[in-house]
Symmetry: C2
Subunit: 460 residues, 2 copies
């Protein structure tokens, strides 16, 4: 039963399990105590810190262990902003950062700071120039992920770091998705990461702060972890995290080559086997193990449910699978289709047979969901009008786009379809559908009695 | 090799180990995901929450898991204060709370709030009246531990809770030291606790918030744990924590009886076997497994070092064992001696033979440390003066008190000794020594060229 959601959480690596079990006996005591159990715990903690620091590419005294990657991001951003409070309250983040970064930015804004989002291309990448435009004399901190967690696009961190260095602004790099593969990219001032993404246990994050970077830990004081991560250290898990990071790195090159071939195959075959699909993210500058695509006329929840029934565990950035009914901010920032979105992220050791099995069931699953939603291949009927209005009020994603696709067949090339919808997702998916199908998106306007009208000109 | 510091961290309970290992296979995935691995993780999380809630004495939806007891305290206090911001910014805590509570209070004060400490008796207990005096119309929150972590004194939580309820003020109870033995004491509005204190793994705390208590989580938003504990849940450890809490409760009654007998014996025998010792904390209303005493004329670090060499792992609230050179705030608030302080906290299953072995080595260890520090039984020399001045500038604890004890023999009854010291600990230990030895403490004054003079009248 293949599990293809390692970008969310990786199964525990065998080395992590071994290290965890060994350190349950040796590492339960307080490493701050002077008696033998404390000294043993301290030795384990020091060794884990050295191993993790080597894998990150920093000095041991620059690195602390936090209770999660989310905590590392939250406390890293808060501490770096506070450390440069005198410079100003301007924070620069990319539009496709992990929600933990964006949530920390929201808190900063709520406390009077200003936050600027750097836009991304349709493949999800920022540019050096984008950061250069955003940096200001009062910029306290910039944040950039090493690679995107939803679409796998690798960011030009080294270039952005140069721009930040030139402006004297520290750069926090969220390396959660890439630390299994390689050290944190050059030029970082702070790095955050999360052990359960590389096969370590949950309950462990990393925060590294380069010597010389101004950093003022926020929240209540605590002597643990240089005052940067309060609470009793989660030592057995920390030991397991460090050991497994070293282990996955040792096999990274071989695994990367294998998984890259499998993901290349997924990218090619999905585009060929599934009609009306958009494979998103950068085709080249990307994580080796992750691919994301969006299927038109399908809702993500049904798709995931059917794939789960078929034995495949995957994830989705579609609004239909979340409780909030807003689509993934990453897909929105990229301007790509969010409906029927599927993220496949392969664990170490995934076989070609597992990937082939997925490719075998996927087209049928997508067709089945479309069938249930009443989507049929457009019959070759002659166009009947030069403009059509579609009332999609009350219909949720993917229905408005399904209605639009039906209606477009009814107008002549050059004619228009206007969709009236009160589904927030339509604002993203209708333009994305136009880009995908080669039609012209003419814009939106307030609807006559509520909702919004979206107008599309048929071009093909 | 007996480990007697369970109040700091308990060795992993066998049930915790079993549960941890089992849930490493079943509980590594994201419980928020809809696929089978996520649903399995969700089931484990729900079951752990139910078990923990039953042990605390609350509804499952009132309880969240945090990365540590410290995090539970920090976020519990911050959320409760924010939830009642309109009432006011007054926070009431006891003077002997755990440092995590006092650190959270410091942050509150730094942000413009006011903090009031309720004093304790010489046994370390607060009173209902003490809280009643402290509560004001603008009091947002009161905090009280269920039992003290350094001296074991059990606090009158139910009575204080009544006073808080009468004033309409929520009460946060830090139950870290008592949750292994019994549910949180009646009347709490919020409860915090820590799994590694009861034999669960590190990395897990509990925060329960009663329905109806106003609570506004602080820090960046996060969907996990009702928005009250951000970050990917540490599920295997959470499962182990809940399972071990249930297990220690099942054996609590039998263990409590056994350990209480052993601690009674320790209290009696230490007072009899070691000269110049003060056994602190309430002799009756106390935790079953913990006893603390302070040995005059001994520095805590040497004492702990020698006890460790003799095979016993114990803790100390003495300044000499910490990096900060300030004595335990608990002992200071109680007004008891801090020098030569030893805390013995027995794990489940401690045997009478282990306790007897400790009692056998302790007197010799204390005598050995005193010998090295040049402390000898006062020779029966006749007093030579009516007042003596001792220059103890530059000497650290326990030397000023050792010098005082030597000098007191040189003055007649009714005469005075004045000690000039720049050691901050002297301010606590000289009055405590007077109380212990039956002399009169006359007060302090600024020294002629720096330091402080402490004057003592010999009475016996």
């Amino acid at each position: 039963m293949p599990y293809f959601d390692v970008a969310s959480a990786a199964p525990l690596h065998p080395v992590a399990r071994q290290a965890l079990q060994a350190s349950l006996d040796e590492g339960w005591a307080d490493p701050a105590r002077l008696y033998r159990e404390g000294r043993r715990a301290r030795l384990l903690l020091d060794a884990a810190r050295e191993a993790a620091a080597e894998a990150v590419g920093c000095r041991p005294d620059e690195l602390v262990f936090t209770p999660s990657g989310t905590h590392a991001v939250h406390s890293g951003i808060a501490g770096a902003l506070a450390g440069r409070r005198r410079v100003g309250g301007h924070l620069v983040v990319s539009a496709v950062e992990h929600s933990s970064v964006l949530h920390a930015a929201e808190v900063h804004a709520a406390h009077g700071g200003t936050v600027e989002q750097v836009p991304v291309s349709r493949t999800g990448a920022v540019t050096r120039e984008g950061y250069e435009r955003a940096l200001r004399p009062d910029t306290a901190l910039a944040c950039l992920q090493s690679a995107n967690h939803e679409v796998g696009t690798v960011q030009p961190v080294a270039e952005v770091a140069e721009a930040c260095a030139a402006a004297g602004v520290p750069l926090l790099v969220d390396a959660a998705q890439s630390l299994a593969w390689e050290p944190a990219p050059a030029g970082w001032s702070l790095v955050a990461a999360s052990a359960h993404k590389w096969g370590g246990p949950p309950g462990v994050g990393l925060l590294a702060v380069r010597k010389g970077v101004r950093f003022a830990p926020q929240g209540p004081a605590d002597e643990r972890e240089s005052g940067r991560a309060p609470g009793f250290p989660n030592l057995p898990a920390v030991v397991a995290a460090a050991a497994s990071l070293r282990a996955v790195r040792a096999e990274a090159q071989e695994q990367e080559q294998r998984l890259r071939v499998l993901v290349d195959r997924l990218r090619r075959r999905v585009a060929r086997l599934v009609p009306d699909v958009e494979v998103v993210g950068d085709p080249d500058r990307r994580l080796p193990h992750l691919v994301t695509f969006s299927c038109l006329y399908v809702d993500g929840e049904s798709l995931l449910h059917e794939l789960d029934r078929a034995g495949f565990s995957v994830s989705s950035g579609s609004s239909c699978t979340s409780s909030t009914l807003t689509p993934s901010h990453v897909l929105r920032a990229m301007g790509v289709l969010s409906e029927g979105n599927v993220r496949v992220s392969l664990p170490l050791g995934t076989t070609a047979a597992e990937v082939n099995a997925f490719l075998e069931v996927l087209p049928g699953v997508v067709a089945g969901v479309r069938e249930k939603l009443g989507v049929h291949p457009a019959a070759a009927v002659p166009p009947v009008a030069s403009s059509v209005e579609v009332d999609a009020l009350g219909l949720l994603c993917p229905q408005p786009v399904i209605e639009l696709a039906k209606a477009i067949a009814a107008v002549a090339v050059g004619g228009t379809v206007t969709v009236l919808s009160d589904d927030e997702v339509a604002r993203l998916d209708i333009p994305a559908w136009c880009a995908l199908r080669g039609h012209e998106y003419l814009g939106e306007a307030p609807g006559p009695g509520g909702g919004v009208t979206y107008t599309v000109r048929r071009l093909v």
